[in-house]
Subunit: 256 residues, 2 copies
C-alpha cells in the first residue's frame, strides 16, 4: 500500500527552501542537515496536520490517549499490529518507565524521523540530508538485520498493507550563510529490488544508499518483497561469513 | 622495548591542565577532546623537543630530508622497517602525489595522534579523551585486522623491538567554560593480555577499551604477544562467522 503522502508535491515544496546555518560552525554530517529534517516535518504538518508526528510524539500521543493501558502487555496491544509494534516501540525497559510526567524524548536511533499516520496505516519517513559540495559515502538507511526481522514478522502475521517506509533526500548547499535546498529525491524501500540493497556488515550491518541512486523497479507484492529480501539477506550473511574465514582466519593460521 | 617517553611524568604534567572549550557548542565525542590531544602534544614537545611529531609531520620531515627518494619504492625504503612502514605510511596513491609543495595534512584515521621518535625507534601515541560527566562506550583503539596484519609483519621480519604503541586517556570536565583535565591514564598495547582485547566486529572490527580498564599484566616477549594475539584474532573471527550463521542465516531459512 502506498502512503497518502504526496512526495511529488513535497519535492516542489521543499526545493528552494532555505534554513539557518547551524551555529555549531562545522558543516559535517548529522548536525548540518538536521534543520532540513525539521523543515520537512513542518511542511508536512502544514499539509497533513495532526496526521504527522515525530516518532516519539506518536508514542507519547498513543500512551496518553490510553492512559488506562498500564502494563507493558497492555501498551503493546495498543499498536494492534506486530509489525508496527516492532518498528515503532521503544525497549521494554524504556516503555515500563514511561509516564505522563516522564514521556519519551527524541532518540537518534528511532526508526523514523517522521511518522505519517492515517487510522491504522503508518508511513515511516526518514529524511536524509546531503551537502552537494562534498562527495560522501552513502548514509545508513536501516539495519539489515532489523529489516530481516521485520520481513519475518510481516510473513508470520500476514501483515503487508498497514505500513510503508519512505526516504526523502534533501540536497543542500551553503549560500550567503544559509543552507539552501537545491534538490530533493524520494524513494520507497519496498520499490527497491531487494537484491539491489547493499549491506555494509562492518558498519553495524547497515543498508546504505543515496536515495537518488535507490533502485525503484520492484513491482510485485509485499510478500514477494519480504521473501526476496530474506533470501538476499541470508545469501549475503553466508557470503560475509565465508569472506571472514578466508580473510581473517586462513592467512593467519600458519602463525599460531 | 619500552618507550623513552615517561608516562608517569606525563600524568603529572597533564593532570589539572585547562584548555579552552571548543567553540562548536556541542561537547560530544571527538570535537570536545581535540584540544587535549593538542595539549598533550605541546607538553611532550616541551620535554622531548624535536623527537615529537604529529604522524603527518614525520612523513613530511622524512620525505623532505630525503628529497632524492623520488620513486614510491625509494620512499618506502626510507622507513628501513616493514613494520614501521606498515604502521606509518600513507597509501601508495597518496605517497605518489606527495611533493614539497603538496605535503601531507593531518588525517583522522592515521594510526597515531603523536609520534615519539628516537633514531630508529618509534612510539605511536594515541590520545583518548573522555568527558567524565557522561558514561560512554569504550572508544575505538585500532582495527583488529590491522593489528593482525601488523603481528604477521612483525613475525615475518622478526622485528619486535623498534616500535611500541601507547594510549593516553585524558578524563576531563567542563568547569567555568573551560575543560579541565581531572585525571589521566596510560596503557601500553603490548602489556595487555591479547585475549583480553575486545573486538567489535560490527563497528569496523575495532578493538575497543577505556585506557583505564586496559589489562596490563602481560609480561612475556613481543613475539609471544604477536602469536597470542593472532590466535585470539583467529578464534574470535571464527566465533563471529559462526554467530553470523546462527543468527542471520538459520532463523530465516524457513522463509525462503
Amino acid at each position: 500500500m502506498n502512503s497518502f503522502v504526496d512526495f511529488n508535491a513535497l519535492n516542489n515544496i521543499v526545493r528552494g527552501l532555505a534554513v539557518a546555518k547551524p551555529s555549531s560552525g562545522t558543516l559535517s554530517g548529522h548536525a548540518a542537515g538536521e534543520p532540513f529534517d525539521k523543515a520537512v516535518y513542518n511542511e508536512l504538518k502544514k499539509v497533513y496536520g495532526d496526521k504527522i508526528f515525530r516518532q516519539y510524539e506518536h508514542l507519547n500521543f498513543l500512551y496518553r490517549k490510553h492512559i488506562d493501558a498500564i502494563s507493558l502487555d497492555a501498551k503493546k496491544k495498543l499498536f494492534e499490529s506486530p509489525t508496527v509494534l516492532f518498528l515503532l516501540s521503544r525497549s521494554d525497559g524504556a516503555t515500563k518507565k514511561w509516564s505522563i510526567s516522564n514521556p519519551f524524548e527524541e532518540k537518534q536511533n528511532d526508526t523514523a524521523d517522521i511518522l505519517a499516520v492515517d487510522g491504522h496505516f503508518f508511513d515511516l519517513i526518514d529524511v536524509k540530508t546531503r551537502n552537494i559540495a562534498k562527495s560522501a559515502q552513502p548514509p545508513n538507511i536501516i539495519s539489515a538485520y532489523k529489516l530481516a526481522q521485520l520481513c519475518a514478522t510481516m510473513i508470520d502475521n500476514a501483515e503487508y498493507d498497514n505500513f510503508t517506509i519512505d526516504y526523502f533526500e534533501v540536497d543542500w548547499a551553503l549560500e550567503h550563510e544559509k543552507l539552501i535546498c537545491k534538490n530533493t529525491h524520494h524513494a520507497n524501500l519496498f520499490k527497491a529490488r531487494p537484491e539491489s540493497l547493499y549491506i555494509n556488515w562492518a558498519a553495524a550491518m547497515q543498508i546504505q544508499f543515496h536515495v537518488v541512486d535507490c533502485d525503484q523497479t520492484f513491482s510485485e507484492d509485499r510478500e514477494k518483497w519480504a521473501r526476496d529480501y530474506l533470501r538476499h539477506f541470508v545469501t549475503e550473511a553466508e557470503r560475509r561469513a565465508s569472506y571472514m574465514t578466508e580473510t581473517f582466519v586462513e592467512p593467519f593460521k600458519k602463525y599460531i
